[in-house]
Symmetry: C2
Subunit: 268 residues, 2 copies
């Protein structure tokens, strides 16, 4: 999916919501546990309940790998089930020397046909280059993450910049705003504004709203640009909005509630 298609979807749905399918088999309603593939069956219900109000799904590989082969199967079936008009993100945080990264790119962009993958910048340019070579695919690079560990290295001072600033400005020269996004945590307060200043045209994937405590209003006021430029991810506050028989209705309501707030920010 190219940037124009993504932005058209955002305008049409008046939403920049990404739903995170971090599906933990120990947290889904127990009624699913008797089905052959509980995680996939749950994901289908969540996708059905949210697809009209979100523009992206982010599938976190960790939760699927934890289930072994059956988890990988559920992962593949889930991405296949998502309507092709919706942007798909493999939240995989991969990154290795060039010939290995090329294999990851083949896995997620080629075989699984994801629109985007999250990657770690630590190993530098040749570890990201294979992802950037795919047309109409997106490389989403960890910039300033939402967790407390962001303080350990991302905020290390290097010259007159923090490491996260150096990463973002450097990586922005390797790719373009048409094929590169940055992960910028919603919990990072005023640093968000700083990132927007560094890369005025790039899309951000913003985790940290909901369970992690980030504010949708703050992100939106800080980082929205003319063609939106942000995808705000919510995982647990939507997919586990209820653990009862009404989980699908509650997930739909939670997603719709985010979307209606987003529609207001987009209309400003």
């Amino acid at each position: 999916m190219n940037r124009k298609q993504l932005v058209d979807n955002i305008r049409h749905k008046k939403s920049y919501l990404c739903v995170g399918l971090d599906t933990d088999i120990t947290r889904i309603p127990s009624s699913f546990l008797s089905s052959i593939d509980p995680v996939f069956e749950f994901n289908k219900k969540i996708i059905d309940a949210t697809k009209d109000v979100c523009v992206a799904y982010k599938i976190n590989t960790a939760f699927y790998e934890a289930l072994g082969l059956t988890g990988w199967d559920a992962f593949e079936k889930t991405v296949d089930y998502i309507p092709r008009s919706i942007f798909t993100i493999a939240d995989a945080k991969r990154g290795d020397i060039g010939n290995s990264s090329a294999q990851y790119a083949k896995a997620f962009f080629g075989r699984l046909n994801f629109d985007a993958i999250t990657v770690s910048p630590y190993m530098g340019e040749d570890s990201l280059r294979p992802f950037l070579e795919y047309a109409d695919k997106w490389t989403i690079v960890l910039g300033l993450t939402s967790n407390s560990g962001a303080n350990d290295f991302e905020f290390a001072k290097t010259g007159d910049q923090f490491l996260y600033e150096k990463v973002i400005t450097t990586v922005s020269r390797w790719g373009t705003p048409e094929n590169t996004m940055f992960v910028v945590g919603a919990t990072q307060g005023q640093s968000l504004q700083n990132v927007r200043r560094l890369v005025p045209d790039h899309f951000f994937l913003v985790p940290g709203v909901g369970t992690q405590g980030g504010s949708l209003a703050e992100i939106s006021e800080t980082a929205l640009i003319a063609d939106c430029g942000i995808l705000v991810n919510v995982s647990r506050n939507i997919i586990y909005a209820s653990d009862g028989t009404d989980f699908q209705e509650k997930a739909s309501l939670a997603a719709a509630n985010y979307q209606s707030q987003m529609a207001q920010f987009l209309a400003r």
Copy 2:
């Protein structure tokens, strides 16, 4: 596997060789392509040919994920096939916020029972902590990697240290030499000596010998400590030593050649 067991194996076999099973289906002898699981069948032959002279296997997830479900199946079967006396490394370079990293730890340490996993430090302490909590399991953190991209961020100056130095000294305080190793590339020349000075007691996982051009002699002279303290990985120069019918014999010879050199360095 704990450190004593690993070191006992090294002394017994007079070897600190790790064989990298970065098995690319397009590079294995064509005779395997008619079997049901070519990658696993090839890996079995390589393991049979090398297990007497190596002390570790490193399985790179990238090459398996590129094949989808059948690749993940080959990955699981391969780790199961490795004798339990040999140290197993999931070369996965994972790392995410705490609750996601906990799922990766469950996948690789719990379900698959690997002895070790490679992880990226970018996201800081809470992204590594779940791995460190497993007894007799090892977290192998990217320190100074073997690729050209190491120059982009790992060599960024932060205060009076390079980033890789800050990462290694910081992470060494989160874990211990009994549960933490560092990836230090064989291509990094004199910086290897510097890393050994920073962490005199830790094991290093050293990629970059062979195809990438690193020198076994240089690493060994620089980084060996009283109880060895290094695992030197070789992938392509062993597993693709020949693409003919003699691939198994040539892999065995290549591995034995490394081992005999290692025996000499250990005897010094």
